[in-house]
């Protein structure tokens, strides 16, 4: 089994949490071994959090749209989710919630009512470490999904194919593992649902009238549950889901041999997530050096992670909410039903420059457009939390190593030291000199604008 070394711990936390502070890294090291860390902290069941607000149980109605309440509540829901990310500790539950949100991608603009998106978000939390097959069954009549992929009001006699197609193409099997006819037949099985009030109701009168249907060559009187069972019997299914996990947590170009190993574990554990995640995060494969820092941070990892690393206690969540849109990862509003593709798709000349604008804002207290950012970094306190804060060269190295996972060359370290000293000599450095805070801000800006900072 791989060992709990400092590089391995950083690699694990960077991939499974939304960043981490120096304290959290120490805390993780304190578990002594990787299996104890994974079992007792990373995959520990934690309590489902309280609802953000009583509105979650009010009956959806048009008046909420017209009055602007729905928009306000979507904001509250998103803030609430950010607060979950900040208080996740060493549990990867919230990372799994985001993974599932991205996998079963639904857009708030089409769903319209935040009550439904809240329900779906809690469904993801319930199944974060749970049974994936059961989740697929439940999401097939989840109000958010019914609305988003047009299962709502779909009648068996002229079914809407949207959900049936994406269920196979994007949620379970992948393209090429079903026929157009499989989709048409499945759409009949999946019909008959209507969203009413806070839940979805099945009306047999709106269902198809055929005695039997043939799907994947099997003829039967399918219901949603037996249809999903049949889909999970297809060989492609476990591999498709494991490949997605591999790309999210290990490397964006999957190693098919390891994906096959994961799929075997997944099948033999009846599609339970926890044994699969345990297998993945205790494998030698996951910790191989080439994978370290080979992933481009997603915008939430960049934003939440920067705040955690800088130990900013009261983050400006409005800043996160607004910047997430510009960085192309507004929570609850993925770009389409395939979700966010990730890795290089995060980066264009636009988003790359916004990333720099965001990290600058934590240091200057101003956004790129001049808006004030609250919870600005206490520069000197942060600097003095490093053991060698008064020794310039050591201090710079400690800061780099706490913020950047990619190996930084000596030449670049020297450049960053010069940035801090700004013409003075190292021997004169102290956090107690006048202008020390401005110099530290310049150093931090430079580090966080390095392309290396975007990798985890």
């Amino acid at each position: 089994m791989p060992i709990l070394s400092l590089p391995n711990a950083k690699h694990l936390l960077a991939r499974t949490l939304f960043g981490f502070s120096k304290e959290q890294l120490q805390q993780a090291m304190g578990y002594g071994s990787l299996d104890v860390l994974v079992d007792q902290a990373l995959l520990a069941d934690i309590k489902t959090p309280e609802a953000p607000n009583p509105w979650v149980s009010t009956i959806p109605a048009q008046v909420q749209q017209d009055s602007g309440d729905a928009a306000k509540w979507y904001r509250e829901l998103t803030y609430w989710w950010y607060n979950r990310m900040f208080s996740e500790g060493l549990s990867m539950q919230e990372k799994m919630v985001l993974f599932l949100h991205n996998h079963f991608s639904c857009e708030r603009d089409k769903v319209n009512y935040p009550q439904y998106m809240y329900q779906q978000n809690q469904l993801f939390r319930k199944f974060a470490f749970g049974n994936f097959k059961q989740l697929v069954k439940e999401i097939s009549s989840d109000p958010t999904m019914l609305i988003y992929l047009d299962g709502n009001n779909s009648r068996g006699t002229g079914p809407n194919e949207n959900y049936g197609r994406e269920l196979m193409e994007l949620f379970t099997l992948g393209i090429g593992n079903y026929t157009e006819n499989d989709i048409k037949q499945a759409a009949k099985v999946l019909s008959g649902w209507q969203v009413k009030g806070l839940t979805a109701v099945f009306d047999p009168n709106r269902w198809h009238k055929e005695a039997n249907l043939t799907i994947f060559g099997k003829t039967a009187a399918f219901k949603v549950d037996t249809l999903v069972d049949l889909i999970f019997e297809q060989k492609a299914c476990a591999e498709f889901i494991c490949r997605k996990l591999y790309k999210a947590f290990i490397y964006y170009k999957p190693d098919e041999a390891f994906v096959a190993q994961m799929a075997t574990v997944f099948r033999s554990n009846n599609y339970e997530m926890k044994p699969l995640l345990r297998f993945m995060f205790l494998s030698d494969h996951f910790y191989q050096t080439p994978f370290h820092a080979s992933r481009i941070k997603d915008p939430q990892e960049l934003m939440v992670g920067s705040l955690k690393a800088l130990q900013i206690k009261v983050p400006d969540i409005i800043n996160l909410y607004d910047m997430a849109k510009l960085l192309q990862m507004q929570l609850l509003q993925p770009p389409d039903v395939a979700g966010w593709p990730g890795q290089r798709d995060w980066i264009s000349s636009t988003t790359y420059s916004y990333r720099g604008g965001f990290t600058d804002s934590l240091l200057t207290g101003k956004r790129f457009n001049g808006t004030t950012v609250t919870g600005k970094l206490d520069v000197l306190a942060y600097a003095r939390s490093f053991p060698n804060s008064e020794k310039a060269a050591l201090f710079v190295n400690e800061v780099i190593d706490s913020l950047v996972l990619f190996p930084i060359s000596d030449a670049k370290r020297q450049f960053l030291l010069n940035t801090l000293l700004d013409g003075t000599i190292a021997a004169n450095w102290s956090t107690y000199t006048p202008q020390a805070d401005a110099r530290i801000v310049r150093l931090l800006k430079a580090i966080m604008r390095l392309p290396e900072y975007q990798l985890n």
Partner: protein
């Protein structure tokens, strides 16, 4: 899907970078980059601009260009068909969506060409795969990881990425770079939302000469550094272009209107960028589609119309052409939720002064559907792309063929297309007099049917040297005196063409 720039090329680029730019935190000017001038490989027509609008989600072609006289259409869509009386009449029994009023006006002026039933064999109905196919120009069964525009730009800018062109090689308004501009040399496009903001945000990005290690993580770092370098290079050029350029009228406040307003400023500000990508989403109309679809076409129509007038006002409309595409059309039959599911062939729009206005191709055949209940295509979408590359962007035959690995018969979309029907009876151009010409020569022409015309001087290679006269001309006789001073002695061509595809060419000798 994307390939990274190969390592050798990257090292070369970084070597050039390190020649002039050390590690530094200030905004780095582009001086350190090798620059290639705006002279192009091949026979590219300098100054031509292609604006591509991507209609994301799969536009319902049948409710856009409507066979409103076909009973089968109304039968297939009892709740969502658009009636003849409500729609805007085109030709051959086809009608335009009622909210596309501006486009209808352009159609009547001969500035809108609609190619019907565009698709490809074994069409894919997945949004993602189908979009990739349209972006790469591949067969349904072939996976390519370079965009067709990326391959075109690679022939046009062979030095990239070792040297960056003076102006952005492609511009995409938005945030997520499209596969369309990817090539095995890296992405060609600069992506931004607003010129000034882009410039401001890039300030402070360090450029450095460290060569990334040959590791998995190093490859990703190389990718990030390439984006950073191009951003630093182009942010100033784009801002300066936008500041220098202008809009001559107010654009609609829609997102697409805003995108067109920026493109107008950049073209008018002198940017030599040949390809722009704009986008508008929301076409995945599975349920209750009527209102949403109407709003989308209203938005497109208003933005495009405004842009065309603006280009006209600035005498830029001969250079610029707009093309639309979408990943697929939609099913002929409506579904049970007053919408339409994923389908196949659909029309494409071409807008500009250089197109041959009207419809191309037969109307959708609702009797002969494929076994899925979808339309069969008439023309391959790569015929369209090949035509745009050859007749608008001026790429030669051989290179066009290389881009698609195959020859595709061109469509008569553009007035200069040799396949366009002669229309000698509606226009006449008499031989210039005097000829040979020493100082000035008199060009006389007759218009027998009202049309948009252009009268231009060409060299014998077919390159346009001077647009002498253009615009809407009523029936009548016209004469224009043309000053030949400043042109080298030799043989030239004077050509009169109309938006309906007519063209008459006369030889002119300048002494």
């Amino acid at each position: 899907m994307k390939k990274q720039m190969n390592r050798k090329a990257f090292l070369q680029q970084m070597a050039i970078l390190s020649g002039g730019v050390g590690i530094g935190l200030g905004t780095v000017t582009g001086k350190a980059f090798g620059q290639i001038p705006a002279a192009f490989a091949g026979n590219a027509e300098a100054g031509k601009v292609l604006i591509i609008i991507q209609l994301g989600g799969g536009n319902d072609g049948l409710n856009t260009v409507i066979p409103a006289e076909d009973d089968l259409y109304h039968k297939a869509r009892p709740n969502i068909s658009i009636k003849k009386d409500a729609a805007l009449k085109l030709d051959q029994g086809m009608y335009l969506h009622p909210s596309a009023v501006g486009l209808k006006k352009l159609y009547d002026e001969g500035q809108l060409c609609i190619a019907q039933n565009i698709g490809y064999p074994n069409p894919n109905r997945s949004h993602f795969r189908a979009t990739d196919i349209w972006n790469t120009g591949s067969d349904a069964s072939t996976l390519w990881d370079e965009g067709w525009a990326g391959r075109y730009l690679r022939t046009r800018y062979p030095e990239f990425p070792i040297a960056l062109a003076k102006h952005p090689m492609a511009i995409q308004l938005g945030s997520v770079e499209s596969l369309l501009f990817q090539s095995d040399q890296g992405g060609f496009s600069t992506v931004f939302e607003d010129p000034n903001l882009f410039y401001q945000l890039v300030s402070g990005t360090p450029a450095d000469s460290d060569i990334p290690p040959a590791t998995l993580a190093g490859d990703e770092l190389g990718f990030l550094k390439q984006i950073a370098a191009a951003s630093v290079q182009y942010a100033g050029v784009i801002r300066d272009g936008a500041t220098k350029g202008k809009n001559t009228l107010t654009y609609p406040t829609s997102n697409l209107g805003r995108q067109f307003s920026i493109v107008s400023k950049l073209i008018s500000g002198g940017l030599e960028t040949p390809v722009y990508l704009l986008n508008i989403g929301g076409f995945d109309t599975h349920a209750n589609q009527l209102t949403q679809h109407a709003n989308l076409w209203k938005t497109i129509s208003e933005a495009v119309k405004t842009f065309q007038v603006d280009m006209d006002n600035q005498n830029l409309s001969e250079r610029v052409n707009i093309m639309t595409f979408s990943e697929f059309g939609r099913r002929v039959n409506q579904n049970g939720t007053a919408g339409t599911d994923h389908g196949t062939a659909a029309p494409m729009f071409f807008i500009g002064k250089t197109v041959r206005g009207g419809l191309i191709g037969a109307n959708p055949n609702l009797k002969a559907l494929d076994n899925n209940g979808d339309l069969k295509f008439n023309y391959d979408y790569r015929q369209v792309y090949s035509t745009v590359l050859r007749d608008h962007l001026g790429l030669d035959n051989v290179r066009t063929q290389q881009i698609f690995n195959s020859t595709f018969e061109r469509l008569p979309i553009y007035r200069n297309s040799p396949d366009a029907l002669p229309e000698a009876v509606t226009i006449e151009l008499t031989a210039p007099w005097p000829n040979p010409a020493i100082d000035t020569t008199l060009l006389q022409f007759g218009i027998f049917e009202e049309a948009y015309i252009s009268l231009a001087l060409f060299d014998l290679q077919g390159r346009q040297l001077k647009l002498i006269d253009s615009g809407l001309r009523k029936v009548g006789s016209y004469s224009v005196r043309f000053d030949v001073n400043g042109y080298a002695s030799g043989h030239y061509l004077i050509s009169l063409s109309t938006n309906r595809g007519g063209r008459v060419t006369r030889q002119l000798v300048i002494q």
